[in-house]
């Protein structure tokens, strides 16, 4: 996967990296088990302080998206459900509400938003729901 840093982004560099890995994993560009560049390598590739890269990797590991195997490297983790069903549901609802608020203010109709969501959704790699099997 190619990392890209946007100088014009409002996000700090470590956040941009977190977001790109998260998105890459969600879209299937990063497959479970795939190796990522080491902290030092990515620091050189992006010309960024290694502490910044390390911070992003630690955060991604905490979220269960990456798996750091000392001595071997950093890998994309197998997707797993870490949060209880209700917690995940609430988090998603929060994001949906934020998105819908924005859509209303931008003047879209409900039908337009639904069409847009359906179209964008095709860009992602979905898995059968993990919500039913747990908690």
């Amino acid at each position: 996967m190619e990392f890209r840093l946007e100088a014009s982004s409002r996000l700090p560099i470590y956040r941009q990296i977190v977001q790109q890995v998260r998105q890459g994993a969600a879209r299937g560009q990063l497959k479970p088990g795939e190796q990522l560049p080491s902290v030092r390598e990515l620091s050189r590739i992006l010309v960024v302080n290694p502490n910044t890269i390390a911070r992003a990797y630690v955060e991604l590991e905490r979220e269960g998206i990456l798996n750091n195997q000392p001595g071997r490297g950093v890998f994309v983790a197998e997707p797993r459900a870490q949060l209880a069903k209700e917690v995940r549901r609430r988090r998603l609802i929060e994001l949906v509400d934020k998105f819908l608020t924005e859509a209303v203010h931008l003047g879209f109709s409900e039908a337009e938003v639904q069409r847009l969501v359906a179209a964008r959704s095709e860009q992602f790699q979905w898995e059968p729901s993990r919500l039913e099997t747990r908690s």
């Binding site: 100088a7 700090p12 010309v47």
Partner: protein
């Protein structure tokens, strides 16, 4: 972690002009600190005081646990300094410059590290320094600075005068240096995006005062532009915690504030503006906001009123330039 650099109310006057004002700066061991400021903000004077090349008017500074006015030679040998513009003797070849500098460091000399940098950037030993490009000279200067394996590296605006490509390559070199753990780096710059890439911590000097001193990520996440609208000429802003810049534009007062919160809100409301807004801004915007200072608008609008007050502050700004 201990502080490699610690200053206490460090102050420098040149005549009646205060160039560095009550600076309390701390740089932790192993940290990369980016000192940002416009020309004349006091960056170079601060660095010169840290190195004992300029004497503070008040206050004190310690480097590696020693008062900077009495640095023992062996401690001085653990500090590398890259002066602005990378001055080297132009008549020497790269190889001669290496032998010259090496003679000052009989104990510590990491030829391997030096060779790596020279090789990576294809710097020929036989070439005269004055025939190198600015970018090449910067690489040679950095390689020479780190060859004695210093504990502390101080760089004064190292990318000034370099074009975009050379600047990026210099940062690559610097990353290489940063990756060697345990070394502390203080560098000054006037380019915010360079500081963001390199520094763990950012300090912003405005007219000799350290207005911001926080982790780089924190700065980017919490910097806000606050725009106050007035019916006439805005009142003078009394100042607040985290204020980086205040600029008047016609009937608007525009503030750049880090960590905007209730305390700042109260001060803003005490000025009774007609309205006020908080805007997010990206680093480039923040940089432009910050560098632009209190200048009169380029095109005066009908409601901008007489620019007298603003002109006076610009005069002020010019006098502060070194």
């Amino acid at each position: 972690m201990s502080d490699v650099i610690a200053t206490e109310r460090l102050t420098k006057y040149y005549g009646t002009r205060c160039v560095v004002n009550g600076l309390n700066l701390r740089v932790q061991s192993g940290g990369v600190y980016g000192l940002l400021g416009r020309n004349g903000a006091g960056k170079s004077t601060t660095i010169r005081m840290l190195l004992g090349m300029a004497h503070p008017t008040y206050g004190r500074a310690e480097i590696l646990g020693h008062d900077v006015t009495r640095l023992p030679p062996e401690v001085r040998g653990r500090i590398a300094y890259l002066a602005e513009g990378h001055p080297l003797f132009g008549w020497m070849t790269v190889g001669q410059a290496i032998r010259f500098i090496r003679a000052f460091h009989p104990q510590h000399w990491n030829q391997n590290l030096l060779d790596q940098v020279l090789e990576h950037f294809e710097l020929p030993l036989g070439k005269k320094i004055r025939r190198l490009s600015n970018g090449q000279r910067a690489h040679v200067a950095l390689a020479l600075a780190i060859a004695p394996d210093p504990d502390l590296l101080i760089l004064d605006d190292p990318t000034i005068g370099l074009d975009t490509v050379a600047r990026r390559e210099f940062l690559v070199s610097l990353i290489h240096v940063i990756q060697r753990e345990g070394r502390t780096i203080l560098f000054s710059s006037h380019i915010l995006s360079d500081v963001e890439r390199m520094a763990d911590r950012i300090g912003i000097l405005v007219d000799g005062v350290l207005r911001v001193d926080c982790p780089t990520d924190h700065f980017k996440e919490t910097v806000r532009k606050v725009v106050l609208q007035f019916g006439g000429t805005p009142p003078a802003f009394p100042g607040c915690e985290g204020l980086v810049n205040a600029a008047v534009d016609g009937r608007r007062l525009e503030l750049l504030i880090v960590d905007f919160g209730l305390a700042q809100q109260e001060i803003i409301e005490s000025l009774s503006p007609l309205s006020w807004d908080v805007l997010d801004l990206n680093l480039e915007d923040a940089f432009i906001e910050y560098t632009r200072g209190s200048r009169p608008p380029l095109f005066a609008t009908a409601d901008s009123g007489p620019p007298n007050g603003v002109t006076a502050s610009r005069e002020e700004g010019r006098r502060h330039e070194e």
